[in-house]
Each structure stands twice: as structure tokens, then as C-alpha cells.
Amino acid sequence: MTRKALAVRRKALAAALCVAALPGAGTAQESTSESAIGINYPSDAEYDKAVAARCGDSGFYLRGDVANVGVYFQNGASLVENGAALSITGDSGTTTATVNGVAGYVFNRNCLPRPAGFDPDYPFVSGYVISPWVLANGTLFNSEEDDGNTKIQAGLSGQVELFQAIFDTQYLTATPYYQTDFKGEAQIYGGTLSWRPYLLDIHLGGTTTPAGAMLDVYWSVDAIADYFYVENAGSTDLTEGTEYAWLGASFGVAGWILPDALDDRLTFTTRFDAFWDAYSKQSVDYFEANVAWALTEDQNAAIELAYKNGTDKDTLVDIDQWNLGFTFKY
């Protein structure tokens, strides 16, 4: 190609790329009514305002597990498998109520921008959160009986999100806490460090939902270090005056069966915890599985069948139980 021909082609190319010259073309701000899927695009200022409002959304929460509270927490999130649960059982004059939930408040949640000059691929700290919470987990009886596997914890979670460092994102959490039992006799002081990674390419932490799939499934892993000192064992099987330093991990799988055909109503989750105590050298494990059928379209209420087997490292009490209950979320 001669220099002259190249210059002509260059001019033509520049003209073709000039958006104003394209029929029906315009910037996003100018052509809101032309969106293929009906979007009214915001101006840059409106967009920034909307993002700031979503990121600064502190508030009260009620969930099934303190691990569900963090930088990514949001009111109205639909996660049936992680909902707080309350079930009441009657059996030969004995009434029991099983409670499993965590309540708290999110302070100072934030969304930090990518530092100036950073390439899109560079990792950076993208958020943090501080959250005080109270957790209740166990079964209440209509008598003085206590099965020794009840706990009430009060803690303060501090969490940092590291974005695009090997994983899509990951969360590091530090949680000092105080624990007692439903009678208020146990006195346990401790602290937990945990790490949760997300990598969507391998379904770690989440998955996309291809149309017509028979099963949507993802898995999760939390690496956990948990230190606590037992001043008073209360009704637990822990030893008074003893320190524990549990190292281990919690693995989970969540799935939706025939999601399109059943409108996402039939779900299952499983969880396996394995821990080793650096002081006593003992190991414990715990398995939990449940199947849930959502009662409402927004999936905030469900009937759930659950099975639990193993040893709770926080109380050292063995568990082997089935539970049919109603879960709800606020």
C-alpha cells in the first residue's frame, strides 16, 4: 500500500469511527431511550450518587450465621440457606424451641475505589466493615433441662476485602467475642481469624446460572483460626481454666435442583468442618446437610429439613439430630 493510499484509508477510518457520523449513534447520556433492554442511563454524577448510597447502607440485620455479615452484607439479600431459624417442637408434654441466628448492626461499611494509577488487574483493598453482633444457637426446653449444646455469643467483627489478588476477591475477618450458654453460666473469651476466597471460574463462592441447567452449584471454603479461654464451662463439655486454639476449615456446597423448572424453590446445602486443637492435639469434625423448599417467591421463607452430625468445637458436645423447621429472613 502506498503512502498516499494509506493516508486516504486513514481518513476514511477516522470518519467511520466518529460516533456523530453513525446513524442512531450517541453517548449513553444522550440516547437513554434507545437502550436495547430499556435502560435509562444515569449521568456520571447520578451514577456516583447511587453507588455511594448502596455502599453507605449501614443497618440492622438478622441472619443464620455471623459469617454472612461483612463488607458484602446488604439488607434484603435473598439467601434462604443462610436465614435465621426458629422451630418449636412438642413431644409428650415437653416443648422445645430451637434458635439459630445472629443479629447485629453494620457500621462503617465502605467501598474503596481503585487507587489512582493502578491497572485494572492490580489487587487493592476494596472495602472494610465493623459490626457488633449477638448470636444465639441451641434448644430451649420448658424445664430446667439444658442439653449442653447452647451458646450465646457477643462479638465485634472487623473485616477487610482484598480484590483481585489471585482470587476474584477475598475477605479477612477478625472477631473477638464473649460466649455463654442459655443459662448464662458459661464464661468463655476468645477471638477468631478467618479467610474466605471467591473465584467464580471454579465455582468458588458463587456460580453463574446457565439457562436450562439441571443443577446450579457452587462451593465455599473458610479457613479459620479460633482461640478461646474457658473461665467457666457452664453446661458445655469444655474444661474450665483451659485454652483452646482450633485450626481448621469449613467447606460448603450449595445447589439448586432444576432451577428453571422449579423457579429456584428447591435448594440444598451441605457443610463439613474439620478442626485440630493445637493445645490438646485433639481433632473434631462436624457435618450438616439440609434441603429447603421456598414458600415465597422472594425466598425469604422456607420449610427446611436438616441433618447434623459431629462435634461442635465451641462446646465439644456431640450432635446427631434431624430437624424439620421453618426458616425466615428479615
Binding site: 460516533v19 453517548t27 485494572p120 488487574d121 480484590f163 482470587f167 476477591t169 474466605r196 463462592g205 458463587g206
Partner: protein
């Protein structure tokens, strides 16, 4: 054969391509159609996007943490990566619909010197 009519050598062809790219970079803003962005998202999710109001849970499982992780996954995805897409978790924090993902991407292109073309 006249000099101007001879076939291009590979070196000359490469030079021509580089010239065209430099024209793109210097003389004109790059452009992308909204439809192209939506097509890429449909390929990514394996599901059609027919309305902007569809809940984000219809496209990704795993809750709010997975939605924030989606920013990195989209940044890495084929043509988005080639374009240097740089979403952050803040762009997707608390979103409720697939339309908000499209908006976040369109705003990123707009802010990074691209013209977003409709229809």
C-alpha cells in the same frame, strides 16, 4: 508490474495495521455498541438478557459476596479484558438487577474515553 500495484510484503502489511491502530488511538474515540456489551454478558452468564429489571439472582448464585466477586470475573472475561475493563466491587455493591451490571459497564466505557453507541 508497476511499483504501486505490487503485493504487500508481510512487513508492510504489519506496518499498515499499526498505522490504523495509531489512528484509532490518536484521531478518534473508540466506540462500542450497547448491544455488544449485552451480547458479551449473555455469553458470560449463559443466559439471555431481555429486560433490565431481571433480578441479579437470576444470573449469579452465591449472594452479595459473589456479586462483588463478579467485578473481577467480568474484568477478566475475553473482550472485556482486551478493552481493559476495570470494574470494582463498589460498582456492583448492593445491585438488584442485571440492568445495573450493564449500567456499571457502560459508565466505565464512557469514563474511559469510549463512545457507547445504541441500536
Amino acid at each position: 508490474m508497476a511499483r504501486s500495484e505490487r503485493r504487500q510484503t508481510p512487513r508492510e502489511a504489519g506496518a499498515a495495521v499499526r498505522e490504523e491502530k495509531s489512528v484509532l488511538a490518536v484521531n478518534a474515540r473508540r466506540s462500542i455498541r450497547e448491544r455488544t456489551i449485552i451480547d458479551r454478558l449473555e455469553e458470560f452468564f449463559g443466559r439471555e438478557i431481555t429486560t433490565h429489571n431481571a433480578p441479579i439472582e437470576n444470573y449469579i448464585r452465591g449472594g452479595p459476596g459473589a456479586v462483588r466477586a463478579l467485578a473481577a470475573s467480568l474484568n477478566r472475561f475475553d473482550h472485556f479484558h482486551d478493552d481493559g475493563l476495570g470494574l470494582t466491587p463498589s460498582d456492583l455493591q448492593g445491585i438488584e438487577t442485571i440492568g445495573e451490571v450493564v449500567i456499571a459497564i457502560v459508565v466505565w466505557y464512557r469514563r474511559n474515553g469510549w463512545n457507547v453507541v445504541f441500536r
